[in-house]
């Protein structure tokens, strides 16, 4: 979220906010198609579903793909967070120590089940909702004129920007794993739309404020415009809130980490036939800390991985649901024709 306005401005100038809306549309559609597929098999978890669709061995093999993907996302999340912390707060502390600090609550929350994740997300939501109001303060120094004219260079840069920032919305594929555990499946679509819309509103809000405050010529050069903007936010008793805002954002990071890491470890443990996922979660987090010892996470590395993830998401979000749906539909047609 912090680098989003900068990247958008880089690709699409001040029309970047339209990219966000486009992304939102795409993700909602993709989620809806996923739901269509999942509705046909309401009580099968993803491993079982894959087994049924593709046969036992191929299904198990295919299962490794989402597991790997989620593990990567979890690791990436933690590594990027540790880079932020190292830059902003603790420059001299070795990165593996920071990773360890992050891994401890990470493990604590992943070893619980999804109901605890849900409680945690609720709690974080209510605790961080007031932070939303903080960036309003420097708004008086901004110029709404920055946003005009709309669509100044045509639609192509906007599409370009949308494509490159799609991973900001990537999280919706969790639904593939959580769907069978839902109790009120009728509301799955509502939940999906609500979650996406909340994300949309927050991103739009942040992006538009950054565009208004910073000059359009300069914003593309800033790495984390929101945080730099927050440097100017302050009260009489607390002068600069950027560090505090970033520290509070840690909470939100864990809400993103928990479902991804949990899905990965849980499905892996089911695949391997283990009774619960806690041991795998312990190994996973130890591995993350160990990579911090071996390889120092750097900004460049994070950007490189981000690029890979963006590419993966570009394939995943639009195409995989459609492919899955078509495949399932195809199988149904075949089955219909088989009995005489």
């Amino acid at each position: 979220m912090f680098t989003l306005p900068g990247k958008l401005a880089d690709h699409a100038g001040t029309d970047g906010w339209i990219c966000i809306v486009l992304d939102w549309l795409l993700v909602c559609l993709s989620g809806w198609i996923m739901l269509l597929t999942l509705r046909k098999y309401p009580s099968l978890t993803l491993p079982e579903l894959l087994e049924q669709l593709f046969g036992r061995w191929l299904g198990k093999l295919l299962m490794l793909l989402p597991i790997g993907y989620f593990m990567l996302i979890g690791w990436f999340n933690l590594a990027t967070t540790s880079i932020y912390i190292k830059n902003w707060f603790l420059p001299k502390t070795p990165p593996c120590v920071i990773l360890f600090l992050l891994a401890v609550p990470g493990y604590m929350i992943v070893r619980q089940g999804p109901s605890i994740h849900g409680r945690f997300c609720e709690l974080v939501f209510y605790m961080s909702i007031f932070m939303i109001l903080l960036p309003i303060m420097p708004l008086a120094q901004g110029h709404w004129l920055h946003l005009l004219p709309v669509v100044k260079e045509g639609w192509r840069p906007i599409l370009d920007g949308a494509v490159h920032t799609l991973n900001a919305f990537a999280g919706i594929e969790i639904i593939l794993l959580y769907y069978p555990s839902l109790q009120k499946k009728r509301y799955a679509l509502h939940g999906l739309l609500a979650a996406n819309t909340i994300t949309l509103i927050i991103y739009l809000y942040v992006t538009i404020i950054c565009f208004i405050y910073f000059s359009p010529d300069g914003i593309a050069r800033l790495d984390q415009p929101l945080l730099i903007l927050m440097k100017n936010v302050g009260f009489r008793f607390l002068e600069r809130l950027d560090s505090l805002a970033l520290a509070a954002y840690l909470l939100v990071i864990f809400t993103a980490l928990a479902p991804a890491a949990y899905s990965a470890t849980f499905t892996l443990s089911r695949l391997l036939g283990m009774p619960d996922h806690r041991r795998i979660a312990a190994w996973y987090f130890s591995a993350i800390v160990a990579t911090g010892l071996i390889v120092q996470p750097t900004w460049k590395m994070s950007l490189w991985w981000e690029q890979r993830i963006v590419n993966a998401v570009l394939v995943l979000l639009p195409f995989v649901p459609i492919a899955l749906y078509v495949y399932v539909w195809g199988m149904e047609q075949v089955r219909k024709r088989r009995p005489g």
Partner: protein, 369 residues
């Protein structure tokens, strides 16, 4: 067993912490940083740090050195300051006029944006004279210099005697193609005086200074409504009498609104700015039958305003700068034409047609007639 292992690992990691600790009494906080050019054209950096020790009699110490960059000067100052020099709470930047007469001097400020801990809330001040004099100024009847300067500038800004540009705002203005930067101007005579605003061009080079009243006009054109706007005019319709200035009147503007219309014709931009003001009469040194002749006074005010605005705009156009920010309007409304001239907007503005219309209404005339 597992818990023991975890405890050992925890201990091992925890003991590696605390490397970034730096207690505040061990810090040498740079509160004012000054950049100047000496007679040979070398960069001279100065810094003023507060002293926390109760045993010392003076409240701050300064350090002046020749260095190549800001970073370099900080490293050099570590040789004499008692603590680590940090830039997290810089209150003011004093830039000498000689420095500002060079283009792109702002690049010296680069590390302040790169390091996350640095402050971007420092006030930018141009010093008309040697910076060292100002930094070493230690008046006995005033608080510490950094606090004193801060209060001075904030108060002057509230009265719209000068602008207040923080570092980040300056960066914004510097990068922005549609607007040129403006900073506070300071001079040291027997005491520190704010003389007005210094206007810079697109490359940050110093162009011209304007006084307090012109600053107020500039702020109005920029549609910055905070603070007080008070003027003293001489009525054009009253005979000029040599005794106690008896054709003068003063008023303050409570509210005003600025509407800018942008157009493009005949190969140049056209800006039509309409300002509506509501004034409160503060002083009137000649008799006037208020209920019937208010219109006369209002017209007088409007005319004088338009003249003054015209003068200011002519000055600005002659200097080929745009502190008002008309470029933003141009970009918003006439994007295609803007694109052609965006890299030399000052020049384009100097040929533009800028017309200001003012409408004043006196809403409050005070307790007496």
């Amino acid at each position: 067993m597992k818990k023991l292992l975890f405890a050992i690992v925890l201990l091992a990691f925890i003991t590696r912490g605390g490397l970034d600790r730096a207690e505040i009494e061990n810090l040498s906080l740079r509160l004012i940083v000054g950049i100047d050019l000496d007679d040979d054209g070398n960069l001279v950096f100065s810094a003023s740090n507060p002293i926390f020790d109760k045993e010392s009699k003076i409240k701050e110490e300064e350090f002046v050195t020749r260095a190549d960059t800001l970073w370099d000067s900080r490293a050099k100052s570590d040789r004499t300051f008692m603590g680590l020099a940090v830039s997290g709470k810089i209150q003011e930047f004093l830039i000498g006029k000689r420095v500002m007469e060079h283009a792109n001097w702002f690049r010296l400020m680069d590390p302040l944006f790169r390091e996350p801990k640095n402050s971007v809330r420092a006030r930018m001040i141009m010093v008309d004279g040697p910076v060292e004099d100002v930094i070493r100024h230690k008046p006995e009847d005033k608080p510490r210099l950094p606090l004193y300067l801060t209060k001075l500038i904030d108060t002057a800004h509230r009265k719209n005697v000068t602008v207040r540009t923080m570092l980040l705002d300056f960066w914004n203005q510097d990068v922005e193609k549609g607007k040129t930067a403006s900073v506070t101007e300071l001079r040291k005579e027997s005491r520190l005086m704010i003389t007005g605003t210094a206007l810079l061009d697109e490359k940050g080079k110093y162009r011209l200074s304007i006084g307090p009243e012109e600053t107020m006009l500039l702020r109005m054109l920029q549609n910055e409504r905070k603070g007080e706007f008070s003027f003293t005019f001489h009525a054009l319709f009253e005979p000029d009498q040599p005794t106690i200035t008896s054709d003068a009147y003063s008023f303050s503007i409570d509210k005003f609104s600025v509407k800018t219309k942008t157009g493009y014709a005949d190969d140049r931009f056209r800006f039509h700015i309409t300002i509506k003001m509501r004034a409160t009469l503060g002083e009137r040194l000649f008799p006037l039958d208020m209920p019937r002749e208010t219109v006369k006074l209002q017209q007088d005010m409007a005319e004088q305003f338009e003249d003054r605005f015209g003068d200011l705009i002519r000055k600005i156009q002659q200097a080929q700068i745009d502190p008002i920010g008309l470029g933003l309007h141009a970009r918003a409304r006439e994007y295609r034409h803007w694109k052609q001239v965006q890299d030399h907007w000052g020049e384009a503005l100097s040929t533009a047609d800028i017309h200001v219309t003012v409408k004043v209404s006196i809403v409050n005339k005070g307790l007496i007639d």
